[in-house]
Subunit: 374 residues, 2 copies
């Protein structure tokens, strides 16, 4: 694992078909938001999009920063919560930006967690056929996951992220000091994705997280910076190999087929990371049962997840049959079968039977493994 | 001007950053829609999007063609008219496709005029972050203009095409036989854009159109094929040089600054091509007055437009001041000034004072030229 450079921000460069962009990671970067945005995404003016909670904490500071840097910036807010990541909020933000006279010469600053990144990113992707966006994640999960890869979108009644677009950001700015205002449950939820990165791609990183959990949960800014950097490196490497999710990028879906189903069935009372922790634990057992995943992998994974304070079993009362039913509405269902990303072992995802990085699993097998877990 | 190959379809290949695609032009191609769609855009199933009028004329034939070719296809219709090119129709089409279980393995067939191409293209661009699209234009205007270039989008209360995305089609299929069911006013409106292509890029083509107007308006399929082919070549060449409209692509906006304003002020009673004809005639005079366009150009242009049965002056009662006011809400307004694409002469657009292919014009000059025209 690469060491963080003491004293300065780390930089991870992501290569995409649309060009390169930087992810900057470091304490204090938020105070340089305006200067760095103007350097990486030079526009006539900026539209800062944030939910009302993040706007209360950081909105005024962000606008003032742009004003001090000599750039116009306006704040556009929406009501916090995944329930508002929908087409109505997207249309409302768009209309308010149009009413404010924002033209093609505008840069969008997505300031917030995953909901804001997805929603503001989709506003940017579709506003006058596309404005550039700077992602400024304020949750651990958004820093290591949703801000990398260019996925944007909103939910519909039929499911999560069913409407959206790919838009690679011009810059991602991750300041771990911002995490000081984040509830610890949200930090744990972010750690679930970091543990996933170790599990699919880097055993040494997996073990390092396991040994660093107390520092991470205590909010140690330097240890958090190292975690963000390594997770971002892994995700950027995977996304760079497969921007449009035709092959290896699918390994990032480990834990997500069951995870999305569990998240939806919980009525989104479970945090995304909590649902993904449950999904990973069960999908590791599924992989072992199918002879794809090395024996002992599931136990080792469950131990780290539990130590991080994350759940590894279905919530009480959630029916295995209902979970399997819910997996069928996932975007990952193709040609009638539900696809799973599975592990070979800790540190290595399975390329699948045909190198397409997904395993089609029958409903019966999926139900069996869930029944065993209950 | 390249000749059409007798007996077979013509092919124009468009190069974009996202790869290449073909525009096929020829009588009888519509009957090969399913086979050609499967060849250029192989998917598990197809969603055919059409307005109710086009669906009545061609919907059943299109679906049957896919069934005969052994591919599943479903028809999704919406109410005809620019007024329905909005976010509500886009959301409704999306939801109906979701309800029908259309997954990522779906190709979208945009069957219709410019409204359908823009709307179905935007559905495709945003459905599960992007489905491939085949454009099957059924109006002359859509064949030579909106089906090339990858612009998709919908209107909002604040203006036309303010929400959208770029999505290059996998294939464009233009069958001039389909134009037999098109009202002659719509053919004239299409000719306005063809005349524009000659005016900005190819004097010989401009003169050929001028000499072929009676055959074109009589619906001569071979002459129409030649027109479509040459217009598509010009547009493809311009778009290939500048996909995102940062420079030379702006020459395609000739006639469109005044044109969009006149179209909006008419309450969309004028067809797009009619409004663009008026816009071109007046912008040619503006160019002459500013010393950018060669003397005599505006008269020559107005003569051809009139011979095609197109208007060249503001409709009675439309106020110059209101037109200038309306130009200010155009996407082409940048940094407070309104931009015009102007001609040097017939066959050559002006690269602008700084090579950015646009001329900033003061409201006073714009109002003066409109007053002279009234």
């Amino acid at each position: 694992m690469a060491k963080a450079e003491p004293g300065g921000p780390s930089r991870v460069t992501v290569s995409t078909t649309g060009g390169q962009y930087d992810i900057l990671i470091g304490a204090g970067l938020f105070s340089r938001l305006a200067v760095l945005s103007r350097k990486h995404c030079e526009e006539h003016r900026y539209a800062i999009v944030a939910d009302d909670r993040v706007a209360d904490l950081y909105g005024a500071r962000a606008v003032r920063g742009f004003e001090e840097a000599g750039a116009g910036a306006s704040l556009f807010t929406f009501r916090a919560g995944e329930a508002n990541k929908n087409r109505a909020t997207w249309a409302d933000l768009t209309d308010r930006m149009l009413a404010a006279g924002m033209g093609r010469d505008t840069g969008v600053i997505a300031l917030g967690g995953g909901v804001t990144g997805d929603l503001a990113g989709f506003v940017a992707a579709t506003y006058m056929r596309g404005l550039p966006v700077v992602q400024v994640p304020t949750t651990l999960l958004a820093m290591i996951d949703s801000s990398v890869g260019g996925k944007t979108g909103v939910d519909t009644a039929a499911g999560k992220n069913l409407v959206g677009a790919f838009l690679q950001p011009r810059l991602v700015l991750a300041d771990p000091e911002v995490l000081a205002t984040l509830p610890v449950a949200e930090v744990r939820a972010g750690l679930a994705e970091a543990i996933k990165h170790g599990a699919i791609a880097d055993e040494a990183y997996f073990d390092w997280i396991s040994g660093s959990l107390s520092a991470l949960l205590a909010g140690d800014v330097e240890v958090l910076s190292r975690l963000i950097r390594r997770s971002v490196e892994i995700k950027a490497e995977v996304v760079g190999r497969d921007e449009r999710e035709a092959g290896p990028r699918k390994m990032l879906n480990f834990g997500h087929t069951f995870g999305h189903a569990v998240e939806a069935l919980s009525g989104f009372r479970l945090l995304h990371g909590e649902a993904i922790a449950i999904g990973m634990a069960i999908e590791a057992r599924l992989g072992e049962r199918l002879g794809i995943t090395a024996a002992g992998t599931a136990d080792r994974l469950a131990r780290v997840l539990s130590a991080a304070g994350l759940p590894t079993r279905l919530p009480t009362g959630m029916e295995p049959r209902a979970v399997v039913e819910a997996t069928r509405s996932d975007k990952k269902a193709r040609g009638g079968r539900v696809e799973y990303a599975l592990l070979e072992r800790i540190g290595a995802a399975s390329a699948g039977p045909d190198g397409r990085w997904g395993w089609g699993v029958e409903d019966g097998e999926a139900t069996d493994i869930l029944n065993l877990e209950c």
